[in-house]
């Protein structure tokens, strides 16, 4: 059962990350990047590392994506 979960999550992460890179709009790209962080959290938890999962959830899907969003707001405000 664990092997099936790992395989399905890996396929999801690969598809979402490839879609995040080739999107023309930047706001869609950042939201898809948050999906990579989410899949990463699920994989870290299944592999038996709860400390790393909590850190990746807070930093990868919280602060790192928010840094990109705030940069996007500054890049568009000075058109």
């Amino acid at each position: 059962m664990i092997g099936f979960i790992v395989l399905a999550t890996f396929i999801g992460i690969i598809i979402v990350s490839f879609a995040a890179i080739i999107q023309p709009k930047l706001s869609d790209s950042i939201i898809l990047f948050m999906g990579v962080g989410l899949g990463s959290v699920v994989l870290f938890f299944v592999f038996g590392a709860p400390d790393v999962a909590l850190t990746e959830a807070v930093i990868g899907a919280g602060i790192s994506s928010l840094i990109f969003l705030m940069a996007l707001k500054h890049l568009k405000a000075q058109k």
Binding site: D51, A53, L54, T55, V58, I59, I63, I67, K73, A77
Partner: protein, 235 residues
Amino acid sequence: MSIKRSLATSTISGFALSATLILTFLNVLLQNLPTSVSRAGDALLQLNSQEGVANVVTTVVVYFRGFDTLGEIAVLFIASLGLGLMLGSNSKCDIKAESNFMLKTASTILFPIIMLYGMYVMIYGHLSPGGGFQGGVIIASAVLLLLISHKEFEVPHSLIVLLETLAGVSYVLIGLIGLFTLDIFLGNFLPHDISQMGMLLSGGIIPIIYIIVGIKVGSEMSMITQNLIKRGENV
């Protein structure tokens, strides 16, 4: 796209695809490692019983590899310094918009709850998954929630400077006290019985150091998010 750019793109993609295939083949072929490999963590798992801390990863991060954590805090400090140098200013912020009544009320109710949760994760870092880094960033995200919903809110600069300075200095001071009493930098000079494993006051200086790390990381991340949101026109 011009001919040159499409040629370059296809060449690079072909390169990447072939590299993936080659690595796949190699990794499938070389998978016959011996099943019983002795791990480096076994010795540390046995040594952990002398400290009396329930979370082994916390002991490794704070006590056995405490000097690396000091270096990591230095890297975070340099990043915060660089951000303050590039984007900091004293002028008023004019990029925030006036927000809704619902947003203001909800964020005022949620802010103490998230702050309390962040402090809980920080203080119970040696008993359950968590610790200083996680709790500090949760506190910074509570401050970020207030920053984006209220137009006139600013993080007080002198308070952040005071917290950061005290946290950084006390980390090194605790290390020096351990050096003078036990001949080990960052040695454990407070009592740490194994019978207290699972209680809040266990493990000697390990929860104290993690709380100091959490305060420093939380204040630095709050300053980083404020510098990224508010950027004056004339620097």
